[in-house]
């Protein structure tokens, strides 16, 4: 009986052992503007930044307002550090001339695997067409969605989303 019990438990432990699959996953928050591209200079633009590279195509497009958007991480987030990003809105034909959306800019963080969000993100307009999003809290490791929304009051009129691994 004793030998049987010992054998059964030993088999159980051996069969049940975990197989750790450790991988070094760095945050995959990428700037939406490809690295190394030079901006297209527009002589008539009043608020263009000569250092802003012109994207080959509009990666994040708000269909209702026909606006493109790109973002850059000022502070890349981790599960202990809040993220800060800069958003720039523009018309596709004039990627260095930034314009304000008609509706309010709103960001929502969502974790699909767990079915919950996070604290409200603080949005602040820094200049025409340029917004700063701060207090982006990704407090759990895993895949999150950043939902960039344009809202009229509480109604979402337009939305694009990006995935990020924390």
């Amino acid at each position: 009986m004793t030998l049987l019990m010992r054998s059964l438990f030993l088999c159980l432990f051996l069969v049940s052992c975990a197989k750790p699959n450790y991988q070094d996953l760095t945050p995959q928050a990428q700037e939406s503007t490809p690295q190394g591209e030079k901006p297209t200079q527009d002589e008539d633009s009043q608020n263009s930044n000569p250092q802003d590279p012109a994207p080959e195509k509009c990666k994040l497009f708000f269909g209702v307002e026909h606006l493109c958007m790109r973002y850059e991480w000022v502070t890349k987030p981790t599960d202990t550090v809040m993220g800060v990003m800069e958003l720039k809105f523009y018309v596709q034909e004039k990627p260095t001339e930034f314009v304000d959306p008609k509706n309010s800019v709103f960001l929502m963080l969502w974790m699909p695997s767990m079915g919950h969000g996070s604290r409200p993100v603080t949005i602040e307009k820094t200049k025409t067409g340029v917004y700063k999003a701060s207090k982006m809290s990704f407090y759990m490791k895993g895949e999150w969605e950043i939902k960039f929304q344009l809202r009229e009051g509480t109604s979402v009129t337009d939305e694009v989303a990006e995935k990020i691994n924390i």
Binding site: S16, Y22, D79, V81, G115, Y139, N165
Partner: protein, 306 residues
């Protein structure tokens, strides 16, 4: 006579540790899991258990099965009082009251939060009594358990730190089988539970959170040396994906993990027992979409004889 006395002592020790081991199966990341209730499996009329535990998240496991070591402190202290009482000879009722203190390091999101976790109550019935000794027939107790969402959940929390509960009403049904042979003992627990939908309305969303079913299965064994017992157990836990319907619909991912534990318990005067236990969620199973912790616990139990 001596054999029966030894068996009674064995059952006492074993029953205590069995109960204790079941409470460590929580998934650390999200305000705990469904706890197997505090069931009397010995010959006691009533029992009360106080548990103090410290656990620390060691690894996060993503939905795709990738493990990532936690490089910052995220710990939980749990203080729980459980009580059960026999009535009508083979029926029993019980309740559990847990308090949780969560501590997290971090430049922006660190801090400490304490609060009530999810309270639970159970009704049990000894459907397989051991009135006469049988070398193979186990003692079986079935139970129905109700968990109340008294702890703040991740759906009401903005940073997860003050989340101390799952956030759902849950109804569970299960059974505990125990058997003792001289100095050895063994146990098995099987339970299945259903968590119920919850309406969420906050700045992030308005909708219905749909949790689904969950289940757990555990095996344990121990060896008794006088008034002491060395024990070990493994418990596997599965939870259905949590889906969201509403302004922000999403399909979740299922959770699963396993907890291995070793324990040492010491009995005093046949009515008191203390147990020290270490559990580790990184050693067994095929975890997914969860955080894995290592825990140390101390429990003190008082029993009243029939």
């Amino acid at each position: 006579m001596l054999l029966m006395k030894s068996l009674k002592k064995l059952i006492f020790n074993f029953g205590f540790v069995l109960l204790f081991g079941q409470s460590l199966h929580a998934a650390s990341c999200c305000g705990g899991g469904f706890a197997v209730p505090s069931i009397i499996t010995s010959d006691a009329k009533a029992q009360m258990t106080t548990t103090m535990s410290y656990s620390q998240i060691d690894t996060d496991v993503y939905s795709n099965g990738v493990w990532q070591k936690k490089n910052s402190l995220d710990s939980t202290q749990l203080y729980k009082i459980e009580a059960s009482h026999i009535f009508a000879d083979r029926f029993q009722v019980g309740a559990s009251l847990p308090m949780q203190i969560r501590t997290r390091d971090g430049q922006d999101m660190g801090g400490t939060s304490s609060g009530l976790a999810d309270v639970s109550a159970q009704l049990g019935y000894e459907y397989l009594p051991d009135w006469n000794y049988n070398p193979w027939r186990p003692k079986g107790v079935g139970f129905i358990s109700l968990t109340l969402p008294t702890g703040k959940s991740v759906y009401e929390s903005e940073d997860g730190l003050d989340s101390h509960g799952r956030g759902f009403f849950a109804l569970g049904i299960g059974t505990i089988l125990t058997k003792a042979w001289l100095k050895w003992d063994a146990s098995a627990t099987l339970e299945i539970h259903r968590s119920f939908d919850k309406v969420i309305s906050n700045s992030q969303m308005l909708g219905n959170v749909q949790p689904g079913f969950g289940n757990s299965f555990s095996l344990g064994g121990g060896y008794n040396i006088g008034d002491s017992r060395l024990g070990t157990s493994i418990a596997w836990v599965n939870e259905d994906a949590i889906n969201v319907d509403g302004t922000n619909p999403s399909k979740g991912d299922a959770q699963q993990y396993a907890t291995g534990a070793v324990s040492f318990s010491q009995m005093y005067d046949n009515l008191w027992a203390a147990t020290l236990s270490y559990s580790d969620q990184t050693l067994f199973g095929d975890p997914t979409n969860t955080s894995l912790s290592k825990s140390l616990s101390l429990s003190i139990q008082k029993r009243w004889s029939r």
